[in-house]
């Protein structure tokens, strides 16, 4: 880069600074207007916080005044959270001023007001400030521990911007500790988060830090490129502190590069950047920026052998650092002053400042600086001819280097041991996990078999139950169907039998019945033609005709009885009564009596043959009484001896007959035959002049 280009860049950067300053002023003015228009203390507090933050980048004292106002409002409202925020505001301001004792004071005040479980925002701010305080006091290990703890806490809440701040600070710590790889990793993590959230300031910080790493790796051009990018971004967002820091870093790169190339142009450019940083720091009351600017200006003046100017800046830096209790700056300023005095060959002053620097380095446990200071002291004494002292510092330096090396080796061994142990444990854990997984798999397989068996049993059980139910249903249906079929078969058979009987009956009636009728009518004709002839023949013919007629009646009765299965007693009684009425109508001089005993139920059932035979016996007896006995009274009585025997009695008061002398006719024989059919007996008793009694007795029912 030519001096012309550098000058142009400087002009551009200053122009940007001017523009940025204008924008910042406009923002602050608008916040002031809003503050005047605030309607209630809560709104006022919110605006004050924003205003204080804005002032923090341009005027730290104004921020302090505003945070005091915020604290007053918090006291008036008795708002603990607001008060904690005011304390954190103070802490941030004093962090920028590198007044770390004040930072610690305000953090202690704020700590009891925070509940880490509830006030996430406040607690994460507290951790970051505490880490930065330790970093500012060069307590790198403590600071690293705090930031690692903060990362754990913030990761659990997932606030990535806060996480980026932690990564950035950790990267700075690792950079100080010479662990560049870790530093780069942290910067990458931070830059990724910043890009993800569009945080320009965060990206600028990361560029700055990446530039620092390149600087450490002596990649000067890349370092310059990143610092210039960082400065441009920081100006864009109005970050004065960051801009000052990047100016210093850019100056450092040019200084180192100039020394390496023995280029006065680069050294002049470095000085110019340091002066820019000083001016900006002074304008914005950024104390630490002023101190560091003095240190760097002292260094660059010494480098270009302007020792008086170097001593002047060195003393200004030391004074400022002492005022701020900034140990790091005090140490650096002292050592640089000692070195400058050495070059000026003012050895006493040089020793004084170098010893002071060595003390501070010992106090803050900065081994590298101690080694460097011991080297300078050894060289100083050597130049003075104090070889004993020179040797003493040389030995101390070698011993320190050895101890450092030994500590390094030990650390490396420990690190390797830790790695080995960790890997071993990881392997063991992996083996245990594999075993557990195997056991788990076995258990799962076993469970699968057991539950599979249960499932199968359930399915089979259900299948059995369903089949059993279906079979039961089928059996029930078959049984019922069988019963119905049996009933159908029975009724069908019954019907068929009746049909057969009916056909036979019809045949008998139509054929034999008509033939017998023909015989009767033929005999009657014959008997009519032979009228006046042989009386015996005529009488015989009459008997044949009567017999044939009787046969026809009996044939019809048989046919009827064959078709009829049963007859009720009521029906039989009606038919007998009907017959008696008709007989009475035919013979006016005869009195007919018909009695039925009370003991006989009307529902009593007789077979059709029983009914027919009873009816015929009564009919025969009554006809005989009418025809032969010349009776004036005929009685028919039905009674029963017990539940199964019925007695039918037909009596008349006619002339009677001598049972020994009268020739028995067909009528009596017929009655006896019918009585036998009834499984009973008929008894006919008669005396001349005393009437006749016919007594029928039979067992009735099926």
């Amino acid at each position: 880069m030519t001096p012309r280009v550098i000058r142009i860049c400087c002009v551009l950067l200053l122009s940007c600074h001017f523009i940025w300053a204008q924008e910042k002023a406009a923002q602050i003015d608008s916040l002031h207007l809003a503050l005047q228009a605030a309607k209630n203390p809560t709104d006022e507090a919110t605006i004050i916080r924003d205003l204080a933050k804005s002032y923090m980048e341009v005027n730290l004292d104004s921020s302090i005044v505003l945070y005091k106002r915020l604290e007053d409002i918090a006291d008036a409202l008795k708002d603990e959270e607001m008060k904690a925020r005011a304390h954190f505001g103070y802490a941030w301001v004093y962090d920028h001023k590198t007044r770390f004792d004040s930072v610690q004071h305000y953090l202690k005040l704020a700590e009891p007001m925070i509940d880490p479980k509830e006030d996430y925002d406040l607690h994460s701010t507290y951790l970051i400030l505490e880490g930065r305080r330790a970093l500012g006091l060069a307590e790198y290990e403590a600071s690293e521990e705090i930031f690692l703890g903060a990362i754990n806490y913030i990761e659990s809440e997932g606030n990535k911007p806060d996480l980026a701040i932690c990564y950035n600070n950790l990267a700075v710590i690792y950079d100080y500790l010479g662990q560049f790889e870790k530093a780069i990793n942290m910067h990458i993590l931070s830059a990724n988060i910043a890009e993800e959230f569009g945080d320009v300031n965060g990206v600028a910080k990361s560029y700055n830090n990446i530039g620092l790493v390149h600087h450490s790796l002596k990649e000067y051009d890349k370092a310059k490129e990143y610092f210039l990018k960082s400065i441009a971004l920081k100006k864009e967002v109005g970050n004065i502190v960051g801009t000052v820091s990047s100016y210093h870093n850019l100056g450092n790169v040019y200084r180192r590069h100039g020394i390496k190339l023995l280029s006065m142009e680069k050294l002049d450019t470095a000085k110019m950047y340091y002066q820019n940083a000083l001016r900006l720091s002074e304008e914005s009351n950024y104390d630490r920026g002023v101190t560091i600017s003095y240190i760097n200006l002292a260094l660059i003046n010494t480098t270009v052998e302007e020792f008086d100017e170097g001593i002047r800046y060195g003393k200004l830096a030391l004074k400022r650092a002492e005022e701020l209790n900034d140990m790091n700056s005090m140490m650096t300023a002292s050592i640089n002053l000692g070195d400058t005095y050495q070059f000026k060959k003012e050895y006493e002053e040089a020793e004084k400042y170098l010893v002071q620097g060595l003390d501070i380095a010992t106090r803050i446990k900065d081994v590298n600086i101690r080694r460097r200071t011991m080297y300078l002291l050894s060289r100083l004494h050597q130049r003075q001819g104090n070889y004993k002292e020179a040797l003493s510092y040389y030995k101390a330096r070698v011993a320190l280097s050895d101890s450092v090396a030994s500590v390094d080796v030990k650390n490396k061994v420990n690190e390797l041991e830790t790695k080995y142990q960790t890997e071993k444990k990881e392997k063991e854990i992996l083996t245990q996990r594999a075993e557990l997984a195997e056991k788990d798999l076995q258990v799962r397989r076993k469970n699968t078999w057991i539950f599979g068996g249960f499932g199968l049993a359930l399915v089979l059980g259900l299948l059995g139950y369903l089949l059993f139910n279906q079979q039961k249903l089928k059996n029930r249906q078959l049984k019922k169907e069988g019963e119905l079929k049996a009933a159908l078969a029975k009724i069908e058979t019954q019907n068929k039998l009746q049909e057969q009987r009916l056909r036979i009956s019809r045949d008998l009636h139509d054929n034999i019945g008509s033939q017998l009728t023909f015989v009767t009518s033929s005999v009657d004709n014959l008997k009519f033609k032979m009228k006046g002839g042989d009386e015996k023949v005529t009488e015989k013919l009459g008997a044949i005709s009567e017999f044939t007629t009787q046969t026809i009646y009996e044939l019809r009765d048989t046919i009827w009885a064959m078709n009829k299965t049963e007859i009720s007693f009521e029906d039989l009684q009606a038919r007998i009564a009907n017959f008696m009425d008709k007989a009475g109508g035919a013979s006016d001089r005869v009195v007919f009596n018909f009695n039925v005993a009370d003991g006989i139920s009307k529902e009593t059932e007789l077979t059709s043959i029983q009914g027919m035979n009873v009816y015929r016996i009564i009919q025969e007896a009554v006809n005989n009484a009418l025809k032969y006995a010349e009776a004036s009274e005929i009685d028919v009585a039905l009674s029963k001896t017990n539940d199964e025997e019925m007695v039918v009695r037909i009596t008349d008061n006619g002339k009677g007959f001598d049972m020994d002398t009268v020739e028995r006719g067909n009528g009596l024989a017929n009655m006896k035959k019918r009585a036998r059919d009834l499984n009973g007996g008929v008894e006919v008793t008669s005396e001349v002049g005393k009437g006749t009694k016919v007594n029928l007795q039979f067992k009735y029912g099926k």
Partner: protein, 84 residues
């Protein structure tokens, strides 16, 4: 609790599906059997009723037979509906 969560969901779903399918299938079959049975029994009942009516019809005729008038021919009624 671990045992319960260890049951493969596929197994449970399969068993439940098979059970539901079987229950459905058997319900359908039983319903069909019942329908067939009802049809058959209805037919048998109809036949029984027909025979019964026929017997009653003939019985009515025979009851009407009068011994005195002896008009048996009218009482002997022929089957009307059933071909035996």
């Amino acid at each position: 609790m671990k045992v319960v969560t260890g049951i493969p969901i596929l197994l449970v779903v399969s068993v439940a599906s098979i059970c539901l399918f079987m229950i459905g299938l058997f319900r359908f079959q039983n319903h069909r059997l019942q329908q067939v049975f009802l049809n058959r029994t209805q037919r048998i009942n109809e036949m029984i009723t027909q025979h019964s009516h026929q017997i009653q019809y003939r019985e009515k005729g025979l009851n009407a037979y009068d011994f005195l008038l002896r008009n048996l021919k009218e009482a002997l009624r022929i089957q009307k509906d059933i071909e035996l």
